[in-house]
Amino acid sequence: MYRLWPLAMLNCIAVVGTAISAPNVAVRAENFTVPPATGPTTHIQVRNTGAAECTVTIEPEFPEGWQWTPANREVTLASGEVKSLPFTIEKASDVKSNEYPIEITIIQGADKTSCQQSVVCASAPYFKPKIDGKFSDWSDAIPFTFTAAGGPASSGVERKTIVSTYWNKRYFYLYAQVEEEKLYSYKKSAAWVDAVQFALAPRTAVTASEAQAKAQRSEFLLVDVGGMFGKDKCFQLIKPGQELSVTQRQRSLETLQLKDAQIAVKRQGKITHYECAIPFSAVPTIRPTVGREIRFSILVHDPDGTGIRDWGKAAGLWPEQRNRFAWCKWSPAKWPADPPYDSKVEFGLCSSKH
């Protein structure tokens, strides 16, 4: 039996990456954490969703002209078990669109299921941009784009978010371009506030499922303050070592302001631009060096449009990876009944895209 899953059906989840399921087995190709032309090892995650042990062969097909090894890998999984299978890219080329289609064939006995997914290079090159609201320093970044639809007032219209990042010895930089109808600035009594929320963690960090467990991430919230003389703000919502119960508390954001951060939020046409520099002193568990693999994810709060846009979902995390302790709640953000996906998607610090 050979089935090719309709691409349209997969794209209903997200444009960039999509978690895929075959009977009893789910697969997900991880994003590249360095530009693929450098020949990295990438991973395909395989999860046994069935009740019994199973053995499958996973055969990826990377973009045309690429070379990789091995051609396939056989894996045996207990019920519920997840394994990460390495594939080494021996020859590849980077593309400006930063979208790389991958076809993954799952072979289980006589059955074959072929699935399509698109991954990105999720990596921050080394650079020292100026955080000045001019956004002129971002041409050396490796932007990734994801779209989201739905939400309270969007009528199903898709909205784009473009995320660029840099790093250097002292700072992690983020530049998010958020397509949205209107910008709602941060005010104490506001019913709606637009914001960008993102998390950084070491590669080995995990999100526990108990409120008493300790956080292994640093999480930040960026908001526009509005007005002629308003200074845009960055709040640090959680630090490594804090109890995860913090994530569920409504706290005064004012006490969480990160004074050492630099931030500029500007509205141009239908795009809100968020530009910020976060000192690595606020992310003490990450040692910034070239090639360092970390975990990163981002939520965009667009309350009058798409609602929460979740990179974790767009990057193809599995529904089981939703975790209410993965992100800190804050007011007046509107949180859906289903919590967002885990805040720990693979990411890298690289040297340069050139």
Binding site: V34, T38, G39, P40, T204, T289, V290, G291, E293
Partner: protein, 352 residues
């Protein structure tokens, strides 16, 4: 009238003389040669490192430590691997090193860090390799204006290949040669996979079986420098030739995951040591910064290397953006000793 003409002629000659003087002052000597090696002469190779947020102080301290380790003999060459942010700090490191050693013998490149028996060094650090003794000779060359700074592999691969092959052959051709040449060390602003093109050019001159090792400079924006006779260059490559009555053995290993990075480093070091039939007196290791990034604990790889080579043979290691040496790949040309690759650690053992 004739007085005016004489005055004009005098001024012209004066202007021309000033121009010539200025031009000669600005001209860069692109080669360096030490005195020849004597058979059976002494060879001293030592390594010293320092880390300090004051770049000048780091350079000066590392150089002072090296000076002390080297003893009284004059040095043939000092190889520098530094990891500081930005041109200004890099200039200060050079100044610090050149406050102790003459500029003429200082060569090197910007890296992602270095390692040796003293440990692993990343940000705000410098390591130096000192070479002295009448049993070893050095020569060096600089190839400026490789012409690839604004080109990308996606759009300009063919042009990059042409320019780097020309640069590589130019570099090798201008490197002063001796009958007892043993090893060329290339340090270049041409990272993997571009480093293969540069090496292709060098091998056109030296031959595919000549031992060549080296590394690509840090490719972080604003840090892509190589150093020749104490001066900073970008979009350039340098070569250092080591000569004398010693042997070299090379081995390379590739890895992209923590455990394999550690085990492959030990395997590579072991192969290079075992293939050295004479008494080893130094180990060079050009390592990939990407491998370093895969390590859960950066020291683990060094511990594995030291487990093979021990603590007595001076080890000079640098984390690079591409490596030159024996490629650890499936499809390898058996006639070619060295390749330009990434994700490798390239060991060279020098013995006599």
């Amino acid at each position: 009238m004739s007085g005016k003409i004489r005055m004009a002629k005098t001024l012209s000659i004066l202007a021309l003389s000033i121009c010539l003087l200025l031009m000669s002052g600005c001209a860069v000597n692109e080669t360096y040669v030490s005195s020849d090696a004597e058979e059976g002469g002494s060879i001293t190779i030592r390594v010293a490192s320092a880390d300090n947020t004051d770049a000048f102080e780091a350079g000066r301290r590392a150089a002072s430590a090296l000076r002390e380790k080297m003893g009284s003999g004059s040095l043939n060459a000092v190889v520098l691997a530094e990891c500081f942010e930005g041109r200004a700090q890099k200039k200060e490191v050079l100044k610090g090193v050149c406050a102790v050693f003459p500029k003429d013998i200082v060569f090197g490149f910007s890296t992602y860090g270095s390692f040796g028996q003293e440990g692993c060094f990343d940000l705000d650090s410098v390591s130096l390799l000192g070479i002295s003794g009448d049993g070893i000779a050095t020569s060096a060359a600089l190839q400026q204006n490789l012409g690839i700074a604004d080109l990308t592999m996606e759009e300009n691969e063919a042009e990059i290949a042409v320019r780097l092959r020309a640069g590589g052959s130019g570099l090798a051709a201008k490197t002063p040669r001796r009958d007892d040449d043993r090893l060329m060390v290339i340090m270049a602003d041409a990272h993997s996979p571009k480093n293969q093109f540069l090496l292709d050019g060098a091998q056109e001159v030296l031959g595919k079986d000549f031992p060549i090792t080296g590394g690509s400079a840090n490719k972080n924006a604003g840090q892509t420098f190589v150093y020749f006779q104490g001066r900073i260059y970008t979009d350039a490559a340098i070569a250092l030739m080591l000569s004398g009555d010693f042997d070299v053995s090379l081995a390379g290993r590739q890895a992209k995951e923590n455990d394999k990075v550690i085990s492959s480093a030990a395997e590579g070091a072991d192969e290079a040591m075992k293939n050295m039939r004479l008494k080893p007196f130094s180990v060079l290791a050009f390592n990939c910064a990407g491998r370093q990034g895969k390590l859960d604990n950066i020291e683990d790889e060094l511990t594995a290397i030291k487990g093979v080579i021990g603590n007595e043979i001076p080890l000079f290691g640098a984390y690079c953006a591409g490596e030159i040496g024996p490629a650890d790949v499936a499809e390898k040309n058996p006639d070619t000793l060295s390749s330009g690759v990434g994700w490798h650690v390239m060991f060279t053992v020098l013995g006599r």
